[in-house]
């Protein structure tokens, strides 16, 4: 089918094409000279995502800030998923599937965490009520002197 004379050049061409394709994917996962992801939008997302994930060894630090090995392993994981085209939500889900909700710094908004996310607004409402009532009572009293 393929003329004998063409095998070699064809083979080389295919090999080069394959190598070229390989080089493409490698450079997409490869970091630039300064260790930043080559795609700047991915780098921005990387920074934001790693700042929102808790390091489970030093539990009050993010994996962006922590220098323990688990943190760097997880950072590598985030980088790979970003380069593979995963969305932010997918990356967070990957982490919470394995480590639980605690790995994120803010609890998810759900019925049971309403008391947490909603607390400032409840407090504000209560505050307004208190201020209103006290101010109204006092405004009705004589100012004396």
């Amino acid at each position: 089918m393929i003329p004998r004379a063409c095998v070699w050049p064809l083979g080389i061409a295919l090999l080069l094409a394959a190598l070229g394709a390989l080089a493409q994917t490698e450079s997409a996962t490869r970091l630039d000279a300064n260790g930043q992801l080559e795609d700047p939008t991915l780098q921005v997302r990387f920074e934001r995502i790693t700042k929102e994930l808790r390091c489970l060894v030093c539990q009050n630090e993010s994996i962006a800030d922590s220098n323990v090995e688990l943190a760097s392993d997880l950072r590598r994981q985030v980088r790979e998923m970003l380069v593979a085209g995963k969305s932010d939500d997918a990356i967070f889900k990957f982490m919470t599937d394995r480590y639980g909700e605690f790995v994120r710094f803010g609890p998810p908004l759900s019925a049971k965490t309403l008391l947490i996310w909603g607390a400032p607004f409840i407090a504000l409402l209560l505050g307004v009520v208190i201020i209103y009532r006290v101010a109204r009572n006092r405004s009705r009293m004589p100012l004396d002197e």
Partner: protein
């Protein structure tokens, strides 16, 4: 010998502070002047022995006495002398002794400056402070003595934690403790008033300067902690909403509200139960903070090594002090209600808003800190409450408060009509917004909602704070300490708002890997890693990098961050190099070596970050000035001690 002397001195101090408590309180209760007269000398005696005890511990550290367990755990013969002394408060037991020392200094100050107060009242104040001192001394002697021996003695010590081997260790805890402990004075004044059954404007006048002093030390202490975390921990953050940080912030919030509430009680004789409650809360939150740091109940980077028995003791102490004072409150406060009206937008109104908002923020921070524990107790699972939650809890009430602050400075007592200067607030608001937009657009090149709010409110508050002083200067009127204190303190708040919102909106933090000769650019600055070399320190080896910073080709500075390896604890610590100017910080910290002479480094551009701490210092300065107002100066009594205070508006038990 020294440690045994130290324990003995502490025991004597304990006995004296018990006497101070007993004679001060029962003497006042029974009306026995002879008993009451014991309190003041007991304070002096207690102070002398506490100093002695503290000096014994200092002596053990300075002389490398590793037969003392605490010294063996926290020091080392190669530790520089400066840190040997500071290491004293680097861990639980020693820091308690520092607390006790600071409490005895405050007690001495109260004893010295309270001669103008009626004897029964001052005896009660000293008595309550004696109870608190006794509690802490008993705790230390019973569960946390820094003087325990290690037999056989260690050949050398385990060294001070490298993270703590920094200048700020010398000043952050002492300043912060001075604040925490200082709130015990307002607490003691509050308890004395409740025991006596009356609380009047004179009481408020006495209490306020003590509260301001405690508050200003607390402000400086928190600012120092934030600054220290920023440059020492290597990643340039200045606040983490860590449980222990929150533990220092809550008393500060209560203390700020207290200072403002006291001014209403002083002027109009109203808001008495608010003021009382805030005085109890401020110190109670200090004690709760002590509990959280030392009991191991919450995860924190700041926690001391913990022990459930210690936690139990502190909890018992909390029950007695806070439970006791709140019982007194429930008993006495209902009778304190005083009539006194005020209109909408009067000064009282603005201070009411201030009280409510600050109390709300304190309550929210407490809820945020404790909610994981609550959810765990209820069996609902482990929830995560981190910085994003706290940011909302802080900003939602604080942003409205800033508006009220800017306007409230121009309110008057009783009436809802603002002063003439208030008219300027309209166009100044516009000017602040324009200035904010201008800076964001021209300097940073992008708008950010937090920056917009923070800069606008910050500038508006600064302008508003300057209005009245400038008007008085122009019209050659006097500037009182009270006015200047208020204006400067609020100006500090404005600076803080600009610094915090500026850095959070426009900071750039990058983790980069650099080979020698490689460079990286952020915010127009080029950071070029030149070389790295080994250096030796007094108790560590380090790799020091040379990073040249240029901007547009012109040299800016040379930064020399270090990665230190301490010999004794064998841990590494990254020492950041920071270039400071009036507009921004440039920050480089070394990470890990990547092989082939390459290093990972954290490079940061932090615009306006210094105004966070500068703002705090300005706030403290405002407090200091306000506390020196003439009406608070100690007057020498014209007659014998124990005299009755001049007739004043007050509410006796049983009257309307």
């Amino acid at each position: 010998m020294a440690p045994e002397l130290g324990i003995f001195a502490l025991i004597l101090a304990f006995i004296l502070s018990l006497s101070q408590a007993f004679f001060g309180l029962t003497g006042a209760w029974r009306g026995k002047p002879v008993w009451m007269a014991v309190a003041r000398p007991a304070v002096t005696g207690q102070f002398v022995f506490v100093v002695m005890s503290f000096s014994c511990l200092v002596y053990s550290f300075v002389n490398n006495d590793f037969s003392v367990l605490y010294v063996a755990r926290n020091s080392n013969s190669q530790l520089p002398l400066f840190y040997k002394v500071a290491a004293l408060w680097g861990a639980h037991e020693g820091s308690l002794l520092l607390w006790i020392l600071i409490l005895s200094i405050w007690s001495l100050a109260v004893a010295a400056f309270s001669r103008a107060l009626p004897l029964t009242f001052s005896s009660r104040v000293l008595g309550v402070m004696g109870l608190i001192s006794s509690g802490f001394m008993l705790f230390t002697l019973w569960t946390s003595s820094p003087f325990l021996r290690l037999i056989p003695a260690a050949a050398d010590g385990a060294d001070l934690n490298p993270v703590l081997q920094d200048f700020a260790l010398a000043i952050h805890p002492p300043m912060l403790y001075t604040g925490y402990v200082g709130f015990s004075v307002a607490f003691a004044f509050a308890c004395a008033a409740m025991l006596e059954g009356r609380l009047d404007q004179t009481w408020a006048k006495w209490t306020r300067p003590w509260t301001i002093f405690a508050w200003l030390f607390q402000t400086i202490g928190i600012a120092l902690g934030s600054w220290w975390a920023y440059y020492e921990l290597g990643w340039g953050g200045w606040w983490f909403w860590d449980p222990v940080e929150n533990a220092s912030f809550m008393p500060w919030l209560a203390g700020t509200a207290l200072i403002h509430s006291l001014s209403v009680t002083e002027k109009r004789g109203i808001f008495k139960s608010w003021t009382l409650l805030l005085a109890i809360f401020a110190f109670s939150l200090s004690l709760v903070g002590t509990f959280l740091v030392r009991s191991g109940v919450l995860v924190s980077v700041h926690s001391f090594a913990t022990d459930p028995t210690r936690g139990l003791y502190i909890l018992a102490f909390l029950v007695l002090t806070i439970g006791g004072s709140l019982t007194l409150y429930a008993w006495r406060a209902p009778k304190l209600y005083a009539p006194g009206g005020f209109e909408l937008f009067s000064r009282e109104f603005f201070l009411l808003v201030n009280n409510v908002i600050l109390a709300a923020v304190a309550a929210l921070v407490l809820w945020g800190t404790l909610s994981p524990l609550v959810y765990e107790l209820l069996g609902v699972g482990k929830i995560s409450v981190g910085p994003p939650v706290f940011a909302v809890m802080f900003l939602v009430p604080m942003l409205p408060l800033m508006v009220f602050m800017a306007i409230g400075m121009h309110s008057v007592w009783r009436r809802g009509k603002l002063t003439g200067t208030a008219k300027s607030l309209w166009w100044l608001a516009g000017a602040a917004i324009l200035l904010s937009l201008g800076i964001q657009g021209l300097v940073f090149g992008e708008l950010h909602w937090l920056g917009l709010l923070g800069f606008s409110f910050g500038f508006w508050i600064i302008f508003s704070a300057l209005l009245e002083p400038l008007r008085r200067l122009r019209q050659k009127q006097t500037l009182t300490a009270a006015l200047m204190g208020m204006c400067i303190a609020h100006l500090g708040v404005g600076m803080f708002a600009i610094g915090a919102s500026g850095v959070e909106s426009y900071k750039i933090e990058k983790d980069v890997s650099l080979k020698p000769g490689g460079s990286f650019r952020i915010a127009g600055y080029d950071f070029k890693f030149l070389s790295a070399a080994n250096v030796r320190g007094p108790n560590y080896d380090a790799v020091q990098a040379e990073v040249q910073v240029t901007r547009g080709g012109k040299p800016v500075t040379l930064l020399e961050p270090q990665k230190r390896h301490f010999w004794v604890q064998q841990t590494a610590n990254s020492k950041a190099a920071i270039s400071v100017n009036w507009a921004r910080d440039l920050f480089v910290a070394m990470g890990d070596p990547l092989g082939d002479n390459a290093w990972s480094m954290r490079v940061q551009y932090k615009p306006l970050v210094r105004y966070i701490w500068l703002g705090a210092i300005v706030m403290a300065l405002g407090g200091l000035i306000a506390a020196t107002d003439r009406r608070y100066r100690v007057k020498v009594p014209a007659a014998a001690p124990g005299l009755v205070t001049p007739p004043d508006r007050h509410t006796e038990l049983g009257s309307a």
